[in-house]
Amino acid sequence: MTHETLLQISSIVLLLPLAGFAGIIFFQKKLGRAAGYIGSSILGINLLLSLLVAYQKLAFYSDAGMLQWKFDWLNLGSHPITIGIGLDNLAAIMLIVVNLISFLVHVFSLEYMREDIRFPRFYAYLGLFTFSMLGIVIANNFLNMYIFWELVGISSYLLIGFWYEKDSAADASKKAFITNRIGDFGFFAGIMILFFTYGTFMFDDIFAHIGEGHIPFDSGTMLTLAGILLFMGAIGKSAQFPLHVWLPDAMEGPTPVSALIHAATMVAAGVYLTARIFPMLTADALLFVAYIGAITAFIAATIAITQTDFKRILAYSTVSQLGYMIMAIGVGAYSYGFFHLVTHAWFKACLFLASGSVIHAMHHSMHHAGEHHMDPQDIRNMGGLRKKMPITYLTFLISTIAISGVPFTSGFLSKDGILAGTMAFGQLSGHWFIAFSGFASAAMTAFYMFRLLISAFHGQPKTHIAAHTHESNKLITVPLIVLSILTFWFFYSFNPFDGGSGWFYEKIKTPATVVQAEHQWGFFVPYESSHSHSSACCGEHITSPAEEHSHSHEKDTHHALNKFEEALHHAHLPAMIISLIVAGLGIFLSFSFYQFKIFNPDGVAELIKPFYLLSYNKWYFDEIYDASVIWGTTTFAKLLALFDLYIIDGIVNLVGWFTKVVGHFIGWFDLYVIDGLVNLTANVTAFFGLVFRKFQTGRIQAYIVMTIIFAMVLLYYVL
């Protein structure tokens, strides 16, 4: 296949779900349940096509970099605004992730959403979402990315608020969209800086310019700033601290949506973006990324420990794992970060769909029992589901093991690599907090995941509802089985203890940084270029990673390109040992607390009450935001509205009033002064008229007398 063909197929993959969306939304009434089958078949075709594309790309064009198409969207000013699509190894793998999960969720929802009154519309929205997400995946420029980024935001808004009659769902959808918008504001500003500097949105052009030493405003700080601003988009979309608050609330959406959007694909878009911009991130920007990831991973893990809502535990777990991925990219363990994105997508989607299966079963049981007030998602109402729902249990168990980082699972492979990366980074840069957060979160993850598993599935049913649940049907269980199988190690690497020896690591290589050496960590700068001082080459991949030869420690064949790769290689073994210890500890504690009841969780909670409350109340983020930003903005807005009404409009009305007063005054003046004068003149005239009338008697004698008198007076004066 030529790459033209590959790109053509990719665009078909992109557009098919859009066609599905349009078709279903216009004919939703006529289609009814058929909408679900249409949507699922489209995604089935999409999945096959994307498997084909990915196979072709990885097998035959693996070293070809990004295959791309560019075309003009707008002709403006001096240069046209170009957009296009691109396919590199990263995108090829993402295509499979998005399409497979979307397909399974489509199938799953056939059963899960069966009784919903807006069933066709649900499938339309799923199609819209898949289209938008694929748009992000095969974007080869920032403008496309931003456009689809926002579209993903809106499809998420529609899907979270799918049950808009529920106030909590309606609020959550709004919160998700607005919180994302805050991150997007930064993303947009970052794009502006780049476009202003380079006049293009294309990844490759921009990286090439940076590689040539052409940086925004000729300042390394501005390049750092641009990187951090772009990363703000990821903070919003991937629910990183401090914008993570929307994701747990987003669980108000239907559970398949949580699996698709809020576990596996959309929230991974932020990680994907960070991976995309990795080559242009400076040392400071990378450090910022790493710390945000580490803080998020840690905080979210601590919160997950004490939550009681099935889906919210998974949500915080997702936030924490996303923090892991971000952190991995921040420390330079790029391949492992992306690897974790993929492995996490499978097992987290599986966990969510399994939770959907449980909630579905609980709902049915409640419906049967005529019970309407119980919370079907609260793990305190469950227990003993293992025997009732064996397939759900088994798949859930496998995924839990994977997320906890137990060997022979995919989770172990990716997590281990990330932890080695953080250790290498700590060693080289002195920032050990990141490694600490990584290990602490690993321990907590194992703990809370087993807590969830044990509380929901083990022991005796805690309510009669849980006691009367049944296994879901095949439409639900088959997707679970598929996803849980994908968590086995052999899909990625034949050596169950080293992800670095598998095909994945070979295909997804850390791209070389294009940032000048003075703005980059010394240990990321390739050896050759730091010796020869030639500028780092752009967009090309490092050709021979250290991990190609697994754990053999053959120094002679070991061609690490930079110090970091070398350190990462050495950190592998210690990282693996520590991570096994902490995961084991977490699992052990979890069993001792919840399975064997050696310790009493409530007693321990009482003992460390402040910490317990902090965790239980999610570190009070919502409360703090309510009291600060939200209250501040609304109060300010109210003040402005009053200002508008009373001051600005007040002035207007005052001017109006003043004009009126002046008018009245002038009216009065006119009436009494001007007109008064006129009237006065008239009156005076009239008065004299009256006076003189007296003399006009009409008698000659009188006139003669008067004439004589006047003549005498006149004479008197004259003489």
Binding site: L74, Y146, D167, I178, A189, F196, D649
Partner: protein, 529 residues
């Protein structure tokens, strides 16, 4: 040219034709009014077909001197920008007329006659190439609008309409003085025209940048005040919420859809074109006002309890983007501003139609009165949702293109020279999401709590018919804006070339070579500059 005349005159003819229909024949009145408006739209399409977008100059021009002693003439013509705005006018007007069929229940005849008169005047404003003619159309708008709000408006209509009238008059008088001064200055000091006075726009445009800066400053404000009030730019905006809220739905649609654009149109056509040096001087000031208005309008919109007032304040915010784009004086910014004028006309017009739909059913616009409407009016929900998302600036819909281009223009503008305009303006995008989504959530989502809302009917066929064409263009502009941007591209480039030539001494853009039509020979140039 014929097309231009017909586009302009058909609504006027329609307006007179209505006078000859008996007022009892209500159906006939409605359809005659609608018919004339649609025919005018069809001719404006013909206009579009005759227009050459390569040519940056005025096209389809016509000139007939009217008062020879003052060189005042009936001069009309269009360039890309005016074409887009004429199309917007002829597109929105029939929709506004059609949307009033059920809503207006008194004195129909005068209502529709006034709407047609309004359409005539608006078209006139956008095609005038004579300052005096422009002024006549500009003032003519006031009369139908005054009565539309004053007779068919809400309960505070008298206050609102008087406020609207006085505000606008306050602005237009300096403009009249400005026109006289300008005509006299150009006519006596820069060019020789027989009686030392001219209002010929094209002639004035050629020489106005030779006007000494101290006079330009005054002239700039004489025109700007009037336009800034019309836009409206903070702090001259308070007539808008009142006028919008009290006007009947069609009035609000036309007000938001077209009337406000006369202000931004004027800023480009007169302030930038005629007084470039003064514009350089005030670009920061006006851009700050615009940016402030973006945030201010959005925040005030956030806490409004009346949907219509909310949308009205959102206009203050959205028009801020247009003004910012215009005063960035870059091709991106001005093009973005122009397309944003069209966008705002479509999406805000549609929002007002939606509010009208709710108002007709419930006779209230208080947000608190609603809730859970989505469940009982699904089709309406879709349309309101689209209008809302277009206003929020969702990519794929039109609002994004305009906001994106204006922000881009402001960012790279050599005239503004600070990125803070863009940064602060971009926060308006966040706030837009806040106030619109919040409104949508409170009106549409949740369960129905107010029993009065229970039996509401979903939109009828006529309402469908008003929404659909707007949605078509909202999506079209969002996905492929080139169709529309192309029309005004060359005239914008020409303007920017002129500005940059005056400021920096060089032109940036290549324009297609079009043979210039020779100028009227009653002018000869005085070389005193």
């Amino acid at each position: 040219m014929t097309e231009l005349f017909l586009t302009l005159l058909i609504p006027l003819i329609g307006s007179f034709a209505l006078l000859f229909i008996k007022k009892e024949q209500m159906q006939l009145i409605k359809y005659v009014a609608f018919g004339f408006s649609v025919i005018s739209f069809i001719f404006s399409i013909a206009l579009l077909l005759k227009f050459h977008s390569d040519n940056p100059n005025f096209q389809l021009t016509y000139e007939k001197v009217w008062i020879p002693s003052l060189d005042i003439g009936f001069r009309v013509g269009i360039d890309g920008m005016s074409l887009l705005l004429v199309l917007l006018t002829t597109f929105i007007s029939p929709i506004a007329i059609y949307s009033s069929f059920d809503a207006i229940k008194k004195r129909e005849k005068s209502y529709y006659a006034l709407l047609l008169l309004l359409q005539f005047a608006m078209t006139g404003v956008f095609i005038s190439l004579d300052l005096f003619l422009f002024y006549i159309f500009w003032e003519l708008i006031l009369i139908p609008m005054y009565f539309l709000i004053g007779i068919w408006g809400g309960k505070d209509r008298i206050y609102a309409t008087v406020k609207f009238f006085l505000f606008t008059m306050f602005g237009s008088l300096p403009m009249l003085v400005g026109i006289i001064w300008l005509g006299q200055f150009i006519g006596t000091h820069l060019v020789h025209v027989p009686n030392g006075f001219t209002t010929n726009y094209e002639l004035i445009r050629q020489y106005s940048h030779f006007i000494p800066i101290e006079y330009q400053k005054l002239l700039f404000w004489a025109f700007a005040i009037s336009f800034l009030i019309k836009v409206p730019v903070f702090p001259l905006h308070t007539w808008l919420p009142d006028a919008h809220t009290e006007a009947p739905t069609a009035g609000s649609v036309i007000l938001a859809g077209v009337l406000l654009k006369m202000g931004t149109y004027g800023l480009i056509r007169f302030n930038l074109e005629l007084f470039p040096q003064a514009s350089f001087l005030y670009t920061s000031l006006i851009s700050w006002l615009a940016v402030f208005g973006i945030v201010y309008g959005a925040l005030v919109a956030m806490v409004q309890s009346d949907v219509k007032r909310l949308v009205a304040y959102s206009s203050v915010s959205h028009l801020g983007f247009v003004v910012l784009g215009i005063f960035s004086m870059t091709v991106e910014g001005i093009q973005g501003g122009i397309i944003q004028m069209v966008n705002h006309g479509l999406s805000t017009g549609m929002l007002f139609l939606c509010v009208g739909v709710l108002y007709e059913r419930r006779h209230t616009r208080e947000i608190e009165e609603f809730g859970g409407i989505a469940r009982i009016m699904p089709a309406f929900t879709v349309f309101l949702g689209i209008a809302m998302l277009a206003s929020v600036g969702l990519p794929g819909l039109n609002g994004f293109v305009g906001e994106f281009l204006t922000l881009l223009g402001a960012f790279k503008s050599p005239f503004l020279g600070s990125i803070w305009f863009t940064v602060i303006a971009a926060t308006g995008v966040i706030f837009a999401a806040v106030y619109l989504l919040w409104m949508f959530r409170r009106v549409m989502f949740g369960t129905i709590t107010n029993p009065a809302n229970r039996g509401l009917k979903d939109i009828n066929k006529r309402e469908w018919a008003t929404f659909l064409p707007i949605v078509l263009f909202i999506v079209w502009i969002g996905v492929y804006p080139s169709t529309f941007l192309k029309l005004s591209e060359n005239s914008t480039k020409k303007l920017v070339n002129k500005l940059e030539r005056i400021k920096f001494g060089k032109e940036r853009y290549e324009l297609p070579v079009i043979p210039e039509i020779s100028k009227p020979n009653n002018t000869n140039i005085k070389n005193n500059q």
